[in-house]
């Protein structure tokens, strides 16, 4: 069966890409999963974590596992939009005539690592974010499409906030997921020491091509989702809004704005990828639960009190999921809950 073969191809590609990345990256299974799900869902992923936790290495390794071009931009305060998208330069041909020629910037790559994205000015950030949203850039009046697949992995450091330009909420919304790179456990730390302080023996194989990624992205969208799971997604998004009548207390107290509909889209697409990666042909409520935090944590804007109290947006999401599950069966009879 052709469809079955496509699904098997997806499972195989996903698993092999994951295992290639895990050859180099120790631990961080949830981050690797978020990145891979983001890749197949057709979005861009924001990685947040303290320096030295392997964010950049993860992205580089992923790029090594794919037969795709890779570029990296180290964001600094003096970085200009032209440094990202490219610019028109004057060139002289053999006959001595001068003309403008477009010199492509690093954004014209398949996989783009935007390292420490919050260190560049908003103007420069927006140059990248426009490309992420539209899939094309406009330079000198000419619109140039970006190569497909175009996958941006941006990193930001949450502790060195001085001299940074935090991404505005509207721009954060363009990342399908935000993964938090946490400090490794002691066993993982031991493995990192072992693996990184001796000659590198492991080679990352290229397991997938660009067209294959695009093909598998199309397959993801065919995965069906049952209506009660879809309703649960909507309820989760609604319960992140303080104005919603069934919003939990923690949301009412600490949230200024809840998630946008993009949050719901991200959850469903992520859940579809997750289901396919497990060889399943449908989205389950468990997939939605797994994708809720990465899809919503950067879309919830805390109010001043929430910021002052140090409320974690993951807590808000967890409460929202609980409330949504309760609400979904509230009206049902005891044996049908």
């Amino acid at each position: 069966m052709a469809q079955d073969a496509r699904v098997q191809e997806f499972v195989k590609s996903f698993q092999s890409l994951r295992s290639e990345v895990q050859k180099i990256i120790v631990g961080h299974d949830d981050v690797i999963l978020s990145v891979l799900v983001g890749l197949f869902a057709g979005g861009h992923v924001l990685l947040e974590g303290a320096p030295g936790l392997g964010k950049t290495l993860l992205v580089r390794t992923l790029a090594e596992g794919l037969e795709l071009s890779f570029s990296r931009i180290q964001f600094t305060p003096d970085l200009m939009p032209a440094d990202i998208v490219g610019t028109n330069i004057i060139v002289e041909d053999t006959s001595g005539r001068k003309r403008f020629e477009f010199q492509q910037g690093p954004i014209f790559g398949h996989i783009l690592l935007a390292d420490e994205i919050n260190r560049a000015t908003p103007k420069t950030q927006s140059a990248l974010l426009e490309g992420m949203q539209e899939g094309s850039v406009t330079v000198g009046g000419a619109t140039r499409p970006l190569p497909a697949p175009f996958f941006v992995l941006a990193t930001q450091n949450p502790i060195e906030m001085e001299g940074t330009y935090p991404l505005p909420e509207a721009q954060l919304d363009r990342f399908i997921f935000k993964a938090r790179v946490r400090y490794p456990a002691i066993e993982e730390l031991n493995a990192i020491i072992e693996r990184t302080t001796r000659p590198r023996e492991v080679e990352v194989r290229r397991v997938m091509t660009g067209p294959a990624v695009l093909r598998l992205r199309e397959l993801v969208r065919e995965v069906p989702i049952v209506s009660h799971v879809r309703d649960m997604v909507s309820l989760i998004v609604m319960t992140t809004h303080p104005g919603f009548e069934h919003a939990p207390e923690v949301t009412r107290r600490f949230v200024r704005y809840g998630s946008s509909p993009r949050g719901a889209q991200a959850m469903v697409l992520g859940a579809k990828v997750l289901a396919l990666s497990q060889g399943r042909y449908n989205v389950s409520a468990e997939d939605i639960r797994a994708m809720a935090a990465p899809a919503l944590r950067h879309r919830i804007i805390l109010n001043f009190e929430g910021e002052a109290e140090g409320i974690d947006s993951d807590t808000i999401v967890a409460r929202a999921v609980e409330s949504a599950e309760r609400l979904a069966v509230r009206e049902k009879e005891v044996f049908l809950r």
């Binding site: 069966m1 469809q3 079955d4 699904v7 397959l219 065919e222 995965v223 069906p224 989702i225 049952v226 209506s227 009660h228 799971v229 107290r253 200024r256 399943r280 042909y281 449908n282 989205v283 389950s284 409520a285 468990e286 109010n303 001043f304 009190e305 002052a308 049902k332 009879e333 005891v334 044996f335 049908l336 809950r337």
Partner: protein, 483 residues
């Protein structure tokens, strides 16, 4: 397309389980209420007769049957049943999705795979119990009415009170004396005998009647002889006089005591009394027991939550200061919170047009010239009043402290230095000629202020302003509005 009969069979099986569980659940419920109803005929066994037990059993059975029928009549939507099956059998929403998408026109090619996959999963499952048993709360209580039924069924009939006149006809039949006059005569003879009471059995009514006849008007002093009233004579004049005084008092509406002004009726005044008791002992702020201060602050916070959030916030500040060991600040916060509570109390009373309210207070102050504080009036002796309180020093005229001195500066500091240039200088005339257009100001200051004040109130209501800063923000706007 894969035949989804197996899935259908699974869903039907689960639906059967749901119905069975419902039958148990609602049947037990009905049996409980039937059993409660069955107690009634057994209580009235005397009236109902030997059929009472049968009626009771019938009621229990009827209740259970009605409950079970109700349970069976409830709808079992397939989508819900499929969801229950998925959840109970760990099928990860396969069955529900397959059912829903198999019937949709926009089905994707993956749906066929999904149906096949769901069937494969269902086949692997042993016949499992998908719907767990849930017992209603009434099931635990069911033994109680059943026990009562059993006891009542075995026990003799309960004698019910009968409110009706004695059956004289029956009585006369028993005595067998048809001559009524002869009966009356014999009764008179019985009463005439002095030892009649001793001879016959005494009823309570007879005893009461006897004691009433003994205590006549002349015997009352004898009754009160051992009490203080024993030596007093009835003084009717003084009673009348006091009555007149009471009537006059009733005419003076203003002098009537306001029961609501009783300090036990006002939480604020209770709080004030407790604060006074705490600070009236001449203790320095650091000598006041912190536990008492904490108790008072917690009470104020609770009270403020109900009435005045501002007072609750101030009390919370005090609690935090107490946690830090800063008792002076805690006492200060306590006084401020008390002030806020007092203001709220005055406003509330003012709104109700009660004495002690803001309007009444204003009226009284306007009628009195100057400082009209009456000594001994607890309302006016408020230690946390408008004058403020310095801990250990008593009332202060500067509750917010002394004003910060201005930085020293000369007015010429801002002027340019150097000598003016001599000679004719070019200049541009900036005067405008003609009448100014008579248009209203684009931004009336008054409405702009109200607008900002509304925004401030909304921001506070939405808790965008941190709790600790809210009083400052409010004070700022209050100061502006006073100007």
């Amino acid at each position: 397309m894969v035949d989804p009969t197996r899935l259908d069979r699974l869903v039907r099986g689960v639906a059967r389980q749901v119905r069975r569980r419902r039958l148990e659940f609602y049947g037990l419920k009905g049996a409980f209420y039937g059993a409660v109803a069955a107690v009634v005929p057994l209580l009235a066994k005397g009236l109902v007769g030997p059929a009472a037990a049968a009626v009771a059993v019938a009621l229990v059975a009827l209740g259970a049957a009605a409950g079970a029928l109700f349970g069976l009549a409830l709808a079992t939507p397939r989508a819900d049943v499929a969801r229950v099956a998925d959840r109970a059998l760990g099928l990860e929403d396969r069955v529900a999705t397959a059912f829903e998408w198999a019937a949709r026109p926009d089905r994707t090619p993956l749906v066929d795979l999904l149906v096949a996959d769901a069937i494969a999963h269902v086949e692997r499952l042993a016949s499992a119990q998908a719907v767990r048993r849930v017992l209603p709360g009434e099931a635990r209580l069911l033994p109680l009415p059943l026990l009562v039924i059993l006891v009542l069924a075995v026990a003799p009939a309960v004698r019910l009170p009968v409110n009706r006149l004695p059956d004289f006809a029956a009585h006369s039949d028993v005595e067998g004396s048809p001559d009524r006059t002869g009966k009356l005569e014999s009764r008179e003879q019985t009463l005439a005998k002095p030892d009649a009471l001793k001879a016959g059995p005494l009823s309570e009514r007879d005893l009461e009647r006897a004691s009433a006849s003994l205590v006549s008007a002349g015997d009352r002093p004898a009754l009160f002889k051992d009490t203080a009233l024993g030596g007093q004579r009835p003084d009717f004049n003084s009673f009348l006089k006091k009555g007149d005084e009471r009537l006059k008092l009733l005419e003076q509406m203003d002098a009537l005591p306001d029961l609501r002004s009783d300090f036990t009726q006002s939480e604020y005044k209770m709080m004030l009394e407790q604060t006074k008791a705490l600070t009236a002992e001449g203790l320095r702020p650091d000598q006041v027991p912190p536990q008492k201060v904490r108790e008072l602050l917690e009470e104020m916070e609770q009270m403020g939550r109900k009435q005045t959030p501002e007072a609750a916030q101030t009390a919370a500040q005090g609690l935090r200061a107490l946690d830090r060991g800063d008792q002076v600040k805690a006492l200060d916060a306590m006084n401020r919170s008390l002030n806020t509570l007092r203001r709220a109390e005055e406003e509330r009373k003012g709104a109700l047009n009660l004495s002690g309210g803001k309007q009444g207070e204003t009226g009284r102050r306007s009628s009195d010239s100057g400082d009209s504080k009456e000594p001994g009036n607890p309302e006016q002796e408020d230690p946390g009043g408008s004058k403020g309180l310095e801990p250990g020093k008593g009332p202060s005229d500067h509750p917010q402290g002394e004003a910060t001195p201005r930085l020293e500066a000369k007015p010429r500091d801002s002027s340019l230095e150097g000598d003016p240039r001599s000679g004719k200088k070019d200049s541009i005339e900036t005067n405008t000629y003609g009448r100014a257009a008579r248009v209203p100001s684009r931004l009336p200051v008054g409405s702009a202020f109200e607008q900002y004040q509304r925004m401030m109130e909304e921001a506070i209501a939405r808790e965008q302003v941190p709790r600790d800063y809210q009083p400052q923000v409010k004070d700022y706007f209050r100061a502006l509005s006073e100007k």
